[in-house]
Symmetry: C2
Subunit: 267 residues, 2 copies
C-alpha cells in the first residue's frame, strides 16, 4: 500500500495538537471546489467498476467530534455515486438486543459483501470513545478492545476487504461556531442535542481518547487518515482524493465475458 | 478455569492416535446411562438459571467426522432443556451472500446474547477443515485463520461469552460401521450422501486437519475437549458432565427482586 498523506507514523504516539485542522493552501478554495466536482464523477465510475469487478468489499469509516462534518462529507463525496449501490450505516447508542451481544456483533452484520461499498458513520470505535469518556464500561473492559479491533480489521482485510478510515479533525473553536449555528438557525436546531454541550465540556477527554485510537489502531492493513476538517471544501477534497487513490491501487477491471459471448451475433 | 479432563495440553502438538475413541470403563454402561438421566435434569435447571441470571452468552460447539454423532449428542444431552431457550444452528456449505463476506460473518450473526444458549453443529472450524482438505481456498488464505479464530474467540470471551468446544473422536472402523448402517437401514438412508464416501477416502487428511485445529485453537479461554465417541452413552455422559461443571463454575444466581418487592402483600 502506497504511503498516503495524513496517515500518522505507525507505532508512534499521536498528538492531535501536531496536526492542523486547516487547509494547507487557503488560496486554493475555488480550484479545490472544481476538483471536487471532477472527483465525484471519478468516484461514480470507480463505484461502477467495483460492482462489476465483484472481488472487493469496500468499507469507508468516519469518526469525528460532534459537528465534525461526517454527514456533510458523505453527502459531498458520494454525491454522484449510484445511491442504490452504496449503503450508509449510522451507529447510535446500542439497543437492548445489541447490548446483549459483544460490541462487534452489530458492526460485523453491517459489513459490505464483495462488490459493495458501505460507509460507517461512527463505528466500533465508539466502544473506545464515548464508552471510555462517559464510563459506560470499566477500563478493564474497553482497554482490551484496541487489540480486538486490530485483530478484527486484520481478519477482514486478510479475507479481502478494503478499509479506509477517516478522522475528521476540527478545532475546539470551530466546533463552538458550528454548535452555535445549530442553536441560532431554525433549520438546524433539530440537529442540536443537549448532550452535545455535555460532550463539548469533555473535549479534552475526547481528544485523549481519539489520540489513543489513532495511535493503537493505526495499522498497515487499515490505517487512519487525520483530515484537517475546519473547512468543508478542503476536507471533502482530501477524503475524495484518498478514496480515489486507494481504489485505483486495486487493479479493478471489468470481468471478461463468458466464453462464447464475445463476437457473437444476436439473431 | 479448572483444568478439565480431555483438554489437550496447551501449546503442545496433538496426535489423535494418542487419544482413545473408547470409554475408559466398559463395565460402566448401565451406571452411565442412569447418570445421563440425572445430568439431563441438572442441565434443565442450569439452563433456567442461565436465563434468569442473564449475564452470560453460552456457546456449545461441536465438530466431528461424518457420522461422528453431533446430532445424537445434542438430542441426548439437551433432551430435557426447554427447547424455546436453546438455539441449535447447523452450518452447511455457505450460500452466495455468505460467500460474499468473510467466513466469520455468518458465524458472528448467530452468536448467543446474554442469558441464551446456542449450540453450533459444525462452525467456523469448517473453514480450516473441509476448506483445507478439499482445497476450497488456497493455503495462503486458510493458514491465517487459526489466528483469526483465536482472536475472535478471545474477543467473545473478553466480552463475557462462555465457549465450550467438543471434538467427537471416533475410529475409522466405527465410521465404516455407521456409514454401512446408514446405507443398509431404510430409515437412515436419507442421511447418507455420496460425498460421505469421498470424505472417508480423505480420512487421513481430515485427521491431520483436526490435529492442527486442536493444537492451534486450544486456548485457556476456549479450550477443546477431545471426547471418546465410539460409544454413544459414554460420549453423552462426558459431554454432559463437562457442560454441567463449566456452568457450575460461573456462580449463576437468580437476580434479587426489585426493591420493595420482597415481603410485599398482594391485595
Amino acid at each position: 500500500m502506497a504511503k498516503q498523506p495524513f496517515i500518522p507514523p505507525f507505532g508512534k504516539e499521536v498528538k492531535l495538537s501536531d496536526y492542523s485542522t486547516r487547509e494547507a493552501e487557503p488560496a486554493g478554495r475555488d480550484k479545490g471546489k472544481k476538483e471536487i466536482e471532477e472527483l465525484r464523477l471519478e468516484l461514480e465510475e470507480l463505484h461502477e467498476l467495483i460492482v462489476a469487478d465483484g472481488r472487493f468489499p469496500i468499507l469507508v469509516l468516519l469518526q469525528a467530534p460532534d459537528a465534525g462534518g461526517k454527514d456533510g462529507t458523505i453527502r459531498s463525496v458520494f454525491d454522484e455515486v449510484d445511491p442504490l449501490g452504496v449503503n450508509s450505516v449510522g451507529f447510535k447508542a446500542p439497543n437492548d438486543e445489541e447490548l446483549a451481544h459483544d460490541y462487534l456483533w452489530r458492526i460485523h452484520r453491517q459489513m459490505p459483501g464483495k462488490g459493495h461499498v458501505t460507509i460507517f458513520n461512527r463505528s466500533h470505535y465508539e466502544d473506545v470513545l464515548v464508552v471510555r469518556v462517559r464510563n459506560l464500561a470499566p477500563k478493564e473492559r474497553w482497554k482490551k478492545r484496541y487489540d480486538h479491533i486490530n485483530n478484527f480489521e486484520r481478519m477482514l482485510t486478510d479475507e479481502g476487504m478494503v478499509i479506509i478510515k477517516f478522522f475528521l479533525h476540527i478545532s475546539k473553536d470551530e466546533q463552538r461556531e458550528r454548535l452555535q449555528e445549530r442553536i441560532d438557525n431554525p433549520k438546524k436546531q433539530w440537529k442540536f442535542r443537549a448532550g452535545d454541550l455535555e460532550d463539548r465540556a469533555l473535549w479534552e477527554d475526547y481528544q485523549a481518547a481519539y489520540e489513543e485510537m489513532l495511535e493503537r489502531c493505526n495499522t498497515e492493513y487499515a490505517p487512519w487518515h487525520i483530515i484537517p476538517a475546519d473547512r468543508n471544501w478542503y476536507r471533502d477534497l482530501m477524503v475524495g482524493r484518498i478514496i480515489r487513490d486507494r481504489l485505483n491501487e486495486l487493479g479493478l477491471r471489468y470481468p471478461p465475458p463468458e466464453p462464447g459471448v464475445a463476437g457473437r451475433t444476436v439473431v
